[in-house]
Amino acid sequence: MILTQQLILGLLVGGLYGLAAAGLSLTFGVLRVLNVAHGELLMLGGYGAFWLFTLWRIDPFVSLLAIGPAMFVLGLLLYWALFQFVVKAHEEVRIKNSLLIGFGLTLVLHNLAIRLWTADERAVTTAYAGAVARIGALAIPLVRLTSLVLAFAILAVLHLFLTRARWGRAIRATAEDWEAATLMGIPVGKTYLLAFALGTALAGIAGGLVSVSYSISPSIGLEWTLKALIVVVLAGLGSLFGCFAGGILLGLAEATSVVFLGGPYREVVGLVLFLVILVVRPQGLFGGRA
């Protein structure tokens, strides 16, 4: 019974892991830029939802409509100010330098958030926050269920964009082979810009959802970056639904560990999984296209 209940909670949080990972997977897959500040971007989205709710009583699910575009613009600015300088380098240098820049950005955003909003933990507590659906003795928190469904819907829309829309296909072509994409007349620079901004928007939306069901503070960034990295490694690159499935897998693995090892080791399980996969498949991990 406890196991089932934990598994349900793991499944629900897993959807958010998937959404967080999808943004990272997009930027890494397309730009070969490893943005370790992804978790901090998620944190910013969370604060967006928190302040919109606290100051103007805007429902957190509605405020996603503002957070998404706002984070998209932030992504444009970050790419323009920082990451565009990295993508000129060849792949190995590019990944390493983007990692370093992301690391610097992590420090800046983390400390900026402490400065602006203090280090307190915050959460959006709506009137309907405690609502649960009961099946026998099992409780399903409705807000988390809604978040899961929303996460899936967002990924589905993104999938449609990437497969059907002109720009979406340009993104995929660039991810496949940027040189060939250039030869086909795709403006690779703009594609990078778009992919990075989309990745940032996804992080922000995931953050908004996190602030409703869980809590946010300036220091959650590293944890969420690691979660997203774990999922991307689990899922491989190039598939949004793979990320979603990987996220749920991580959520379920954590839930199982909580039952058998106790709560404190929850974070360890994913990290161990991550290291094992990294070491067993050192080259093929992110999708396998070398």
Binding site: L107, L226, L278
Partner: protein
């Protein structure tokens, strides 16, 4: 030659300082500087010279601190406890070196970061209680032995890296950083050289962690595993000048002093500034302060 002289003068100056002042705050600040130098220089050997961005430096610092603290508080003589701390950190480094160096570039970085986080969380769970120096030892607590111990370790770290880097082995280590395949083709075993750099780096930072455990009166064992130690080492190395001997020393002086000046008003404000500086260095000034200095000097000499 000039920089050797400068380094010796700096070390002698620091060694003489307690004869001129007994101000505790000043001596404590110097201990911070020495720890920062040792932390960054040990990182620099692997990160700067071998080109392996180790984001798990804190794990080895923490292991050194943990082992030294437990043994020393348990009554083992300090020197033995410190050696044991360094040995534990090194052993762990050698143990993980094999699998870790299967990972290249950024994957090595995130892999080591994950490893350090695993250790941090596990230590925090197993040892949730604060570790304090026992009362009798606390009564006789004196800053001076801490001052000279950390100074010695800082000098040791700089000296070891300075001796190793120009040597044949050091040349191999740098060759691996420039181009692993080319190094292998010229008969330089990449794995062997990376492992050697990791071994020396972890031994030095384990020792540094031990000195921290001897210096700090009370702290949570988990604290010594905090990613902040890694971040400090990376920031200091890059801002000072990564892959140079002088860089981490300059960086540490700059970092700790500026941190102290800013801390008067705001606790973590310095990290905001250093984060921005770090990004600027990575993007526009890969040689850090060392490069800025030599560029400035070239400008001046050209004018005159």
């Amino acid at each position: 030659m000039k920089s050797l002289l400068g380094g010796i003068l700096l070390a002698v100056g620091f060694a003489a300082l307690p004869f001129f002042t007994a101000r505790n705050d000043l001596l404590n600040l110097c201990v911070q500087i020495f720890l920062a130098i040792a932390l960054a220089q040990s990182w620099n050997l692997l990160g700067g010279y071998a080109g392996q961005i180790n984001l798990g430096h804190a794990a080895f610092f923490g292991l050194g601190a943990l082992a030294t603290r437990m043994l020393w508080v348990g009554g083992i003589p300090l020197f033995l406890a410190l050696s044991a701390g360094a040995a534990v950190a090194t052993a762990f480094g050698v143990l993980i070196g094999g699998p870790a160096f299967r990972l290249r570039g950024a994957y090595f970085a995130i892999g080591t970061l994950a490893l350090a986080e695993i250790l941090r969380i596990t230590v925090g769970n197993l040892m949730p209680e604060i570790s304090a120096i026992p009362a009798p030892a606390l009564a006789s607590y004196n800053i001076l032995p801490r001052y000279y111990l950390t100074l010695t370790i800082a000098v040791l770290c700089v000296a070891v890296v300075a001796i190793l880097v120009p040597s044949r082995v050091g040349l191999g280590i740098r060759a691996v950083r420039e181009d692993e395949a080319a190094a292998e083709a010229s008969g330089v075993g990449a794995f062997r050289h990376k492992l050697l750099a990791l071994t020396v780096s972890t031994a030095l930072v384990g020792l540094t962690g031990g000195a921290f455990a001897y210096y700090h009166v009370s702290y949570y064992p988990q604290h010594a595993f905090s990613p902040a130690w890694t971040f400090d080492a990376v920031l200091i190395s890059f801002i000072g000048g990564v892959g140079t001997i002088r860089g981490p020393v300059l960086g540490a002086l700059f970092y700790v002093i500026l941190k102290e000046l800013l801390a008067v008003r705001l606790v973590e404000f310095h990290l905001l500034i250093f984060g921005i500086l770090f990004i600027l260095v990575v993007l526009f000034l890969p040689g850090g302060l060392v490069e800025a200095w030599s560029r400035a000097r070239r400008l001046i000499t050209r004018k005159s």
